[in-house]
Symmetry: C2
Subunit: 149 residues, 2 copies
């Protein structure tokens, strides 16, 4: 929040509220989920989008892609660097487990050497069926909807 005050725009009620909601939600959340958490009287969906874009630019928030075409956001790792992490996502209900490990730094180095690419990074997510959904296999839910994530 002080970051905001220093580096860019104004500290408005909407922005404060969106950032708080993201903290409260604890998991990667879609703009719509955030808007709902906030309440439409409090802040318009469009403003959520604009705030998220700003926060992303400031590095306060990071975007997660799960491959279903929905943008998700979570509060950025506050560590200066490192603590880069991934997710394990249920294919049924989209429940998300956060994985603290990342083992791909040396793979990236190899790729840089072998293919001449620079600034290499990666996107890695795991997908499976979470324990609850394994139990509930009786009535499988439609996959890919924003479920418990």
């Amino acid at each position: 929040m002080d970051r905001l005050r220093r580096e860019a725009g104004r500290v408005t009620r909407s922005r404060r509220v969106v950032l708080e909601a993201l903290g409260r939600l604890q998991r990667p959340s879609t703009p719509k989920q955030i808007a709902e958490a906030v309440g439409s009287e409090t802040c318009d969906l469009v403003t959520v989008y604009r705030s998220l874009k700003l926060f992303e630019r400031l590095g306060l928030v990071q975007r997660i892609e799960l491959g279903d075409g929905l943008a998700r956001f979570e509060i950025a790792d506050d560590d200066v660097h490192g603590h880069h992490h991934h997710h394990l996502v249920c294919r049924e209900c989209n429940r998300i487990v956060r994985l603290e490990m990342c083992i791909l730094a040396d793979v990236e180095r190899t790729l840089a050497r072998r293919h001449g690419y620079a600034e290499i990074g990666h996107r890695l997510e795991f997908f499976g069926i979470c324990p609850d959904c394994q139990k509930a296999e009786a009535q499988p839910r439609k996959r890919g909807k924003p479920g418990k994530d």
Copy 2:
């Protein structure tokens, strides 16, 4: 194609043409790119979508997500299993290198044990700046457009 004849619907001109185009294109391609490769007089964009959905269901084709909100498709690895592969994508022009290795099988086993998830798979793509774009840093292109991929 025989696969099609056996397992599902009819073998039509459109479907043959879409599958050929995918073979010819050699790289993960968006529905629009496929439709253009085919020519709009030959086959409507909507039909491309429907064919791709069918092919995906039959396992003839697989969907790639690069995180820019565009679906891309490529001919599925014909091997029974294995030959699961990933991509190295230029952040500027989207040029794609296909990586034949995958090292994550044991990571998946660990996750299954530790979190109780079943049927674990993953999505892993690498992003960087390809050699050409490093040279051309003068006029950087707008990122994220369907470029050379």
